[in-house]
């Protein structure tokens, strides 16, 4: 049995403890930060970190985010646009739930139609929410656009187009080619200034979730390539710290 006061306690053992202390002192603050941030990330859904939006100007410019001009679709004399969150707006009024992004919009005698990320929203010609169709109702998946030709509504995806009748709740193959229908789609345009200003009041603008920031800090990506290498270095130091700690424990025994 050896201990550090006995003559047999080697010089190398003392050096090991010395370096263990030095390493421990060097990394202990970062180690605590990594542990706490790792804990937060592990429990992110429970802590709702992805729902906490940070929109500090400095942070946004650090991430290279700039406010894009507000855009929407003008159909049947009305502007349909999205607030970037989960609502569809029609001429300044919140109209219906709609998961971003708003992909396309069209109008026929039945009303206005907005294609959201996972559903097709139907509105009255005055912009009142009628109902929503999704894949579970039999709507084709991966839809990219809407077109109205001869008052008929067509759903377009990459390779197929289908005619959709919301009144009869039926979907049938389109009698014309996808590219021809795609050309009939309404193009997205910049919103008039009055609506854009109103939208700015409704929406929070670009933001970054707290989860993303913590994840980037935890991995070092927040500080670019240098930060990643720095965290790698801390990882190596933690490994050495564990090994020197183990050696110290063995020496004590």
């Amino acid at each position: 049995m050896t201990n550090k006061t006995s003559p047999t306690f080697s010089h190398s053992a003392r050096t090991n403890i010395l370096w263990h202390r030095r390493l421990g002192l060097s990394v202990f603050l970062l180690l605590i930060f990594l542990a706490i941030s790792g804990f937060a990330l592990n429990h992110s859904p429970a802590l709702k970190l992805n729902q906490i939006a940070l929109s500090n100007n400095w942070l946004l410019s650090w991430y290279g985010l700039e406010k894009a001009p507000a855009k929407g679709f003008q159909v049947d004399g009305q502007w349909l646009y999205h607030n970037g969150d989960a609502e569809l707006f029609v001429d300044g009024t919140e109209a219906a739930p709609c998961r971003a992004p708003l992909l396309s919009a069209a109008a026929n005698d039945n009303g206005l139609f907005a294609l959201c990320a996972d559903s097709l929203v139907m509105l009255t010609p005055q912009g009142q929410f009628v109902e929503q169709f999704s894949a579970i109702d039999g709507l084709p998946t991966a839809l990219q656009g809407l077109a109205v030709v001869d008052n008929r509504l067509y759903l377009i995806n990459e390779s197929i187009a289908a005619e959709f009748d919301p009144e009869r709740w039926s979907i049938s193959p389109a009698p014309m080619a996808v590219d021809k229908l795609a050309r009939s789609q309404q193009a997205m345009a910049t919103l008039p200034q009055a609506l854009a200003q109103q939208l700015e009041q409704h929406q929070s603008g670009p933001s970054i979730s707290l989860e993303t920031v913590i994840l980037d800090l935890h991995s070092g990506r927040f500080f670019g390539q240098f930060g990643v290498l720095f965290i790698d270095l801390i990882g190596i130091l933690i490994c050495i710290l564990s090994i020197t700690g183990l050696i110290a424990w063995i020496n004590r025994r």
Partner: protein, 193 residues
């Protein structure tokens, strides 16, 4: 025995610590797998309708929500309903409804088949919450069979809850009551016509 285990842990602390870490990791993995399994689309709307009516053809119909109906629906759901109309399928006294209600944060898509004002089948078509997915099991949904609507707009029979899925259970209860209410409305409309 306990002393032996404790002695072994004292003797091989590293091994004991390693076992603890492996045990915790395995537990966390099982928990994550269970959470993932709770979410999903289990049946499409058209498939549910086909299952409800088997080989009999059903008619696609629409129920427009008047102000009076919306008021009653708000009482059942506890909040206003979105949209101006609800679609359903009908064949004789049978109606089938595909309705959505939010459990905790995400909507649950629920199929309900009603025959002669009593529930024949409740099925969870899509579940999007991270917890509480047990409501989709037939052992739970079978409880709704035979339920009808009481004058106070509640279900005629009590439904046993599920620990940890209270909000999802409430959502299914509300949708079951709503489907029965809608069924009563369309039956009345047909009688009046």
């Amino acid at each position: 025995m306990r002393r032996q285990t404790s002695a072994a842990a004292d003797r091989y602390p590293a091994a004991a610590f390693l076992s603890l870490i492996i045990g915790l990791t395995l537990s966390m993995t099982s928990l994550a797998a269970a959470t993932t399994a709770a979410r999903g689309v289990f049946q499409s709307g058209p498939d549910f309708i086909a299952e409800c009516f088997a080989s009999q053809p059903s008619e696609k119909k629409t129920l427009w929500l008047t102000d009076e109906l919306r008021e009653q629906v708000s009482k059942i759901l506890g909040h206003p309903i979105a949209g101006l109309r609800v679609r359903y399928h009908q064949n004789g006294s049978k109606t089938a409804w595909i309705l959505e209600e939010i459990g905790k944060e995400m909507p649950i898509t629920i199929g309900v088949m009603v025959d002669n004002h009593t529930i024949q089948q409740v099925k969870i078509l899509a579940y999007r919450e991270s917890r509480g997915g047990e409501v989709r099991y037939p052992a739970y949904t079978r409880q709704y069979q035979g339920a009808s609507l009481k004058p106070d707009l509640s279900l005629s029979q009590s439904i046993d809850g599920i620990t940890g899925a209270t909000l999802s259970v409430w959502a299914v209860n509300k949708v079951a009551a709503l489907a029965l209410y809608f069924d009563g409305v369309v039956t009345q409309q047909r009688t009046d016509a």
